[in-house]
Structure formats: structure tokens, C-alpha cells
Amino acid sequence: MLEAMIELARGPLLRLSLLVMLAGLLRAFALQAWEIGWAWRRAGDHFVPWKLVIARNLSWLLPWRYLKSEERFVYNFVSFLFHVAIVLVPLFLAGHVAIWEKELGIGWWTLPPLLADALTVTGILALVGLLAGRYANGGSRRMSRAGDWLLPVLCLLPFVTGFMTSHPAWSPWNARVSYLLHLLTAELLLVVVPFSKLVHVVLFWSSQVSSELGWRFPPGFGHRVRQTLGKEGQGV
């Protein structure tokens, strides 16, 4: 029974969840790219300060930018560590790459086991830290919605179950159970990505351009807004 479930989770469910994630992300990115292109065509000056946009995007990928931030540098640096872990571990863990080799026949560089363990533990600690940071800060706590609490937990589960799978001694149950839980929680996370704020994996890249284009107005649009609202001819 357990093995049958693992087979299901490792085969069809994994493919389905990857498909949902990729299709969802592709849709989000394509829609945004289309909207950006449309905005660029409508803007009177067709101008985007690319250097500024690229510099800002890149600056937020660098760890020292987070250390420079006011007051929140601990939270931000922990967030940076979490991002490193959640990008590297799923893509470069030897066990994960083996799946690609089996399914698609292509493999790539893998993390040395010790580093993989270190990154996994970093990811777990960082997520706990992020949750604690969100809770400890009154403003952040008051502002947070259900998703802001659930998503870190959702990210935490595959890390924890993955660690238990590769270190059965740390697990309260059978390693195969851990493996099944790892597969299921990871698949749940994959499916959620395009429909939650995690969609920023693709939209992060465009938000700076979007911001700039938001300020680039189509000539005469204010007048057309007035027309649509039936206020044409009315004064200030």
C-alpha cells in the first residue's frame, strides 16, 4: 500500500504538480510580459530606464544589500539564506537530479552531501526565523494574512521531511513514510507556487519594469477616463 502510494506520488503526481507549476508560472509571466509590452506601446515616450531597472533587480539578489537595509537586516539576511536554500536544494540535491536523469535523461552538477545537509538545515532554521520575525514584529503581525503564515509552513514541510528521508535516525517513523510525506508536501508546494505570492519567482523580474511603466502614461488618457465616466466637458 505504502509503496503503491509512493509510486503514485513519485510518478503521475510529481509530473502533474510540475506541469501545474510550470504552466501557471508560464501563464503569469506571459500575461505580465504581454501587459508590459502593451504598456510600453501606449506610453507616450516608449521609455524604460533599463540601467536603473536592472541595477535595482540585481542589487536585491546580493546578500550585502540586505545587510545594508535599515533595522531589518537580520530578518532580511535570514530571508536571503532561505532563498539560497530553496533555490539550490530542490535543483541541485543529488537525489533530485537523479529523478531528472531517470525521467528526462539529463543531469547536472549536484551538491556535495554535506553541503546539501547544511543548506537543508539552513532552510529549516531560516523559515522558523522568518515566522518568528513576522510574529515578533507587531506591525508585521497585524498586517499579515493567513497566506503569510501558511506559505512558510508549506515551504518548511518538504525541507523537514526531506531531511528525515535522508537521515532516518532523526525520523520518528519509517524512512519510506518520510519519503512519501516529502513527495506529497513538495508537490503541494509546487502547485501552490503560481497561485500565491510565491509567483514572484517569475514576477520579481518584471516588477521594477512594471513600476517604471506604470508612470509612463498614454497621452490623453486622463481625458478618456473623464469621457468614460461621463464627465467630459466638466471643469476641475
Binding site: 505580465q32 535595482r56 532580511n76 530571508s79 520579481f204 511603466l213 506604470g214 498614454p218 486622463g222 477616463v225
Partner: protein, 465 residues
Amino acid sequence: MAEAAHRPCRGTFTVDEIQERLSYIIEKDRVDPHDLAGQFLEAFAAILKHSNYRQVIDNYARITARCMNCACACQIYKHTRAPEDIPCFRSNLLLEVYRRHFMLRGIVETRILGMHFLTDEKVVEMAETFWHCTACRRCTLECPLGIDHGLVTHLARYILSEIGLAPRALVISVREQLEGKTRNTSAIPFPAIRDSIEFLVEEIRDDKGIEVAFPIDQEDRDYIFFPAVSDYLMEAETLMGIATVFHVCGDGDRWTIGTNYFDGINYGLFYNDWILERCLLEEMKEARRLRAKNVLIGECGHASRSAKVFMPTFGGAEAPPVVHILEYTYRRWKEGRFRLRDDVVTEKVTYHDPCNIGRTGWIVNEPREILRSFCPNYVEMQPHGPHNLCCGGGGGTVSIDEIRPYRTGVTGTKKAEQLAATGAKYVVAPCANCKKQLREVIEDHGLEMEVVGLHDLVYRAIVIE
């Protein structure tokens, strides 16, 4: 994407009740209290349809993380520590309206579950809170996801203004500027401006012994000059400095002031894009009438950002180049066209970066280079440059006299602390709004400082050969 999900609704408030809540944000006869929420959604939908806002609001609505980075950059939140002053919290008021009424998910929720999200109460709440922000955009520097809360504030105010909820002080000024007889926000008739100019010319003659011209309605000049019109009454020394620099550099016959339209102020930047465009088109029309090659903006932050950034987008290929007076003066100073004595302004001097010219790094080093060259006691305030604190009167709030206690006691408190820490005698602030606000901050906090423009000090130290 789907259109807004509307709901039939009765009015929740009477006009008097709205006025009680939003005393300075309403003109009584311009507001229809019936179904504010429906009106808001209608205006929001129309703006999304015709503008470039949808792509950016859609992006923000999907990715906001509520991480508090913006709050740490906000001088208002740092003073009040109230959640409603967190930039992301404020932006989410509007983003939530977008999510629940314009995104597929929200529409399903609204239509199937019948959960009508936006209420008249929420509209009034937005009208209150979006005018608590000074739109300084300091928070945008700290958002890892690139969210420009200044843009969200700008859009929210635009939507609100289309349903009649905009500060009375701004609306009345704009009405006079665009549709009144005097064609300027301070309602100064041009003859009075002419008198003021004659007075300035006499003053310069007495002070410096030179005959400086303020050319009026001259054609084919390099620059047509648009200062904040209030400068003619309140910032005499700034204007005298500018005219003297032109004169000393041999450019006295290369600039002009137009009589049809001469006010650089553009309150559209603060609350309405239709107004923003109309003011810029007026500037372009006047430049075209006098066949001026460049639009030259005086010491005014929002006027220069409006013209610099938005004239090209509204005017397209016909938009003339826009030059800020600091850029002009810096260029001439670098060329060695005028010299400044370094024994005139010996007191401690500091420089305040106006948000609209400093935040993006547009004009940051130029004024500093000039000041350092002739003010031996120049000190920086901390932080400065793109990270400088707002004067506390940004986003048009400085023009609303009713909220002075809020401006100096809440938004201006961190600024007062920052100013006091410099120990400077002079605060140089090349922006009409910042000057007014900083003077009030200094007065209300009992500081011993004086606010001046860059050209005020240049005027004192310029060498007349």
C-alpha cells in the same frame, strides 16, 4: 481580464458625515454620497482601462509580501508605530480592492459567495489614509520586490479625486491655474508679478550695482522659465540669485518668462493625472508660443519631476527638453562662467535633498559640489542623497494649511531631529514645498535655523566682475 464586479448599493453616509470625517478632502457640492463604493469601482475600472496602471497593480497585487521593510524606511511609521502607517498596509487597501473586484479569483468570490468587499466606509478610510502619506517614495528603495508605494498612493488619490474626494486647497488652486483668470495657483494677476519683478531688479541694483533683466514674453530664447509661482512672493532671494547667475554668465538674453502661463506648480502629480497632463500641456503651449528651446524649472521639486518625467510621456516627440535650474547653474559653474567667494557664507550649511529630485538620484551631487566650493562649513545631514528623509510636507500635503499640526508634529518630527543633529545655521532646500514645510517644522520644533534656496546663497557669494 474581467471588468469590476459592481454591486447595487445605497449610500451609507450623508455629505455632512463625509465632511466630518474628511474635513479638508472634500468640496461639498462635488461629492455624491450615494454609493461611494460603486463610484470608486467605476472610476478605478475606467482608469485601469485607459492607463498603464493595470499591469503594475496586477503585479503588486500578486506579489506583496508584507515584510515590513518599507515600514522601516517610513518616517511617519517610525514616529507613530501605527500599522495603518505602514506603506505596505496602506497600499494593500487599494490592492485588496483590485484583488476582490478586478482579479478572477476575487470576482468568483464576490459573485458566487456574494461577499461584497468594498464598502463606502472603506472608501472613506482610503481617502483618510492615502493623504497621510507624503508620497516621498523612500520606502520604494527598501522594497525587495520593487513595489513603488508612491505609485499606489498616487493612483489611489487619482481614483478618489475622480469621485470628488481630493483636498479642497489643491483643487481650488488648480481650478484657478487652469480655468481661472490669473492662470496660476496663487491667483496672482500678472501685473502684480511684474511689480514684484521690478522690485527684484531694484533690489539687485542696490545690492550688487548691476542691471539685471527678467525678460518677459521674449521669443526664440533658449529657456522659458517656470518657477513655483509662490516664489515671486515668498522666495525673492532665490529669484534674484537665478537672474543674477543668468546675468553674470552672459545669458541674460537667453531666457524668458511667459505671460500666458508662468506657474511651474503641478498639483496633478499629487492627485490627478488628467490635471498633471493639462498643466504640462499648458507649459508646452507657452514654450511653443514663444518658440523657446528648453523648459527651465525653478527651485521646485515636484514641478521639475512633473516636467522632466511626464512631459515626454504626455508630449511625445513634441516635448521640449526639460532643464532644472540646478542643472543649468551647475553647468555654468563647472564651465567657470561665474565665481563664488568663500568668505561670505561662513556659517554651518547643510543640504536637504527634495524627494522629487533626489530620490531617484537625478540631482544629488551637483548642488553639493557648488555648496562645498564656497561654504567652508558645509555638513551633511544623515541620511542624505536618495535616502534623505522627506521634509514631511511632500505629496501636496504642505499646501493644506489645515493639517499643519500633522505635518510638523507627525510627518515632520523625524525631519526635525535630523535637522537639529546637523547644528547648521542654514538648510539649503531647492524646492518651494520643502522650504515652506521646513520653515514650519523649524518654527514648531523651536529650532534655530534658517531655510534658504541654493540660489539665495549663490546670490550672496557671487562675484560681480
